[in-house]
Amino acid sequence: MMELFDIFASAGLWAAVLRIATPLIFGTLGALLCERVGVLNLGIEGIMTFGAMIGWLTVYQGGDLWLGLLAAAFFGAMFGLLHAVLTVPFGLSQHVAGLGITLFASSLSYYVFRLAVPVASSPPTIEPFRPLQIPFLSDLPFLGTALFNQTAPTYLAIAVALALSYVLFRTPLGLAMRMTGENPHGAEAQGVNPVAVRFGAIIAGSALMGVGGAFLTLSAFNSFFPTMMQGRGWVCIALVVFASWNPGRALLGALLFALFDAYQLRLQTVIGKTVPYQLFLMIPYILSIAALAVMARRARVPQALMQPYRRGER
């Protein structure tokens, strides 16, 4: 039985937590940004898939790893632009538009992938990001391996979470965004242009989703396959609620989910012989639902979430 707890003492577990959490952090922050201005973006699963593909393809074609991330951000932003056009000026159902984008972006990624890479028995690979050596910190016993042996995008994810938190709660721009998500008519009455704010936030949020997807192919793994997203985008949507639309808590939520996931992976090797491994695969999701049920009861949903804004109408 002690083995169940020994897992926590291994530095490898904590390193895995940060690694697993990174795409979730990017995705959750992206979704959070969209929702803070009042637009649900269910295109996330597809946008992350496309980001994973295009990031990988850029590097496979000889591009730099950072160029791959940039490409993922750019195409994420383009899908965001599409979502913004559909939901803001057209005022279409945000659910339907988002799911449509997910279906479109997922199939498009597979199509582009197949155009670029003919069918092969094993997917071609690239040289992914290497862990960043931080002088002194990376050499610390235990902590060095556990926390400071990550690739650059992981640190970037944490930095983005802190930056987004600052922007939302400390700057006039952030206040304008929050006001737009709560009451776009009120925002307009105070001279803020809710349409522009919504476009900007959806585009930026979708770019983050693209980067989150690209982390999988450029850092966590080294190849692309169409089913690799495995519902991570949907997990991010749930994490936004769990985080009560707060970037700092989104970071914690993503880390918590990653901990469940990393733990169950190791649990499989410890007691996986007696219990079917599929049971362990369910653990993070069951725990997430439990956590969500507890946290979401107190959540303060942006009041204008999913409400199209039309000038002059209330």
Binding site: P172, R178, M179, E182, H185, G186, Q190, Q303
Partner: protein
């Protein structure tokens, strides 16, 4: 007008489809003046103010502020010119704090950090100067409606508004809050601000304004100084014909239809040890500042909730469990307090709304299927009998004005012989014409032998309609007084909870039931 006006609306015309919302309207405002824009619902008041504030672009006409013409359709330009608007439906974000609401849009979006310290100091300063005290860190959703309105006003003043426009500011306030608001507005005018407020309430434009412009059918039909006019004249100008509220005739009470003996209901807005008896053919008025248990009382009398202590006797039988359906079938008609939330389903048609309460009745459904023809016929009858203007059975009910929606709700309740009518705030938000017709219907029901439980904040209404009056304060009911012996002062004392004193004033006013 002697000095040059701070605000000048010249020849404004605005058309929405076929309707002319504003027809060549000109209004001007002097510094330090309080102007009331009086008119019925749909007279074009809000449209005019929305044009002034840049929410709409006029088809013709100009807006001048302090001599300079405002570009049309630009709220930002209006704000910069010193115009502030307090909307009827507040434009606040309930999840944000007071300070955040006020600060939105006041700083450049490119600033890297909000200067909350300076903003807080400024907000403090403004709220002290005008006596509008609100905790800047409170979440707006946690504030009362009156406080939220204060935030809305502060928002405008924070932006250096010198001209303040208030759209139906008292529509959501209790009487006491409204009085407080008007004191503050008068004080602002003394400090040099110029104000326009929109209203359809005669007594408040007379009490609070210097000058009154009456709008009717999109036109400015008259202008009067408050000192030189009367309620009667204004009512006639506003409606375009003489309106008289119906008068109550002597009651001929029959048997008791609803009696409460020591009834209690827990909860912060519940009831404690309430006693009343309502007889057929009479009206019992319950007055009080809203939030003192009226909702619980109305729900109790219409079968939505069950009392926890005491006895409630409906038509001679003690009420066992709460059942709206049993109440309706026994002959209870209900006018709910909030017609949009509890009275009607906005996006459903008029015929659907008309039969919603009696959907199980064999008249309207058979074998689980709705008899649409019968339902449409019923709706058409109500529309005709109750003069629901603009109504057609297949029209969505939200397209009706408040007054006409209320007439439909009354109609579906009074169409069949109602033995008890529970009318909660029946004329809230209605204009003069609609009030008069709702009052007529309520008096009719009473004449036909219904007992009417009238729950209202409007003293005039209660004095006009009720035979006996009880006050509700913190869930407790005063003993009844006869309406003939009640006056505003006595009722005021009763509403404040001093009913012993009030009874004293009334002398023989309290009589046993």
């Amino acid at each position: 007008m002697t000095a040059s006006p701070v605000l000048d609306l010249r020849n404004i015309t605005k058309r929405f489809g076929d309707t002319l919302a504003n027809d060549d309207v000109s209004v001007s405002l002097a510094k330090g003046e309080v102007l009331a824009l009086l008119g019925e619902n749909g007279a074009g008041k809000t449209t005019l103010m929305s044009i002034l504030f840049g929410h709409y672009t006029p088809d013709a006409g100009t807006v001048h502020v302090e001599g300079r013409e405002l570009p049309p359709g630009k709220p930002r330009a209006a704000i910069r010119a010193g115009v502030g608007m307090v909307h009827q439906h507040f434009s606040l974000a309930t999840n944000l704090t007071v300070l955040e609401n006020v600060m939105t849009g006041t700083e450049s979006l490119l600033r890297l950090r909000s200067d909350t310290r300076a903003a807080r100091a400024r907000l403090d300063d403004v709220s002290q100067r005008f006596g509008l005290v609100v905790d800047p860190d409170a979440r707006v959703g946690d504030l009362s409606v009156g406080e939220q309105q204060r935030v809305e006003i502060l928002k405008a003043l924070y932006n250096d508004a010198r001209i303040l426009i208030l759209d139906e500011p008292t529509a959501v306030l209790t009487n006491i809050e409204a009085e407080k608001l008007f004191r503050i507005l008068r004080d602002m005018a003394r400090q040099g601000l110029s104000l326009i407020f929109i209203s359809h309430k005669l007594h408040e434009v007379l009490a609070a304004a210097d000058r009154i412009v009456v709008l009717r059918g999109g036109k400015a039909v008259a202008e009067r100084r408050a000192a030189d006019t009367s309620k009667e004249e204004l009512a006639e100008l506003m409606v375009g014909r003489r309106v008289e509220r119906p008068r109550r005739e002597a009651a001929t009470p029959g048997e008791t239809v609803l009696e409460a003996r020591n009834v209690s209901l827990s909860g912060s807005k519940g009831l404690s040890h309430v006693n009343f008896a309502l007889r057929a053919g009479e009206t019992l008025g319950i007055i009080g500042v809203s939030g003192n248990g009226q909702t619980a009382l109305a729900h109790l009398a219409s079968g939505l909730v069950r009392h926890e202590e005491g006895d409630l006797i409906l038509f001679g039988n003690p009420v066992g469990k709460a059942s709206v359906r049993a109440f309706i079938e026994a002959g209870v008609g209900r006018i709910p307090e909030d017609r949009n939330a509890e009275g009607a389903v906005g996006d459903m048609t008029i015929w659907e709304n008309a039969i919603l309460e009696r959907i199980w009745s064999p008249t309207f459904s058979r074998h689980g299927l709705i008899d649409r023809a019968a339902a449409r016929r019923f709706a058409a009858e109500i529309i005709k009998a109750f003069d629901v203007r603009g109504g057609a059975p297949d029209k969505r009910i939200r397209l009706l004005s408040g007054g006409n929606m209320q007439k439909l709700i009354l109609g579906r309740n009074l169409h069949e012989q109602t033995k008890l009518l529970v009318a909660a705030q029946p004329t809230r938000g209605l204009d003069e014409g609609a009030i008069a017709s709702v009052h007529t219907r309520i008096l009719d029901a009473r004449k036909k032998g219904a007992g009417v439980l009238l729950i209202s904040e409007d003293l005039d209404e209660v004095i006009q309609l009720a035979d006996r009056i009880q006050a509700i304060v913190k869930g407790r009911l005063s003993p009844p007084v006869a309406a003939d012996q009640a006056d505003a002062r006595m009722l005021g004392l009763m509403m404040a909870g001093d009913w012993d004193k009030a009874g004293h004033v009334a002398g023989r006013g309290t009589h046993e039931i």
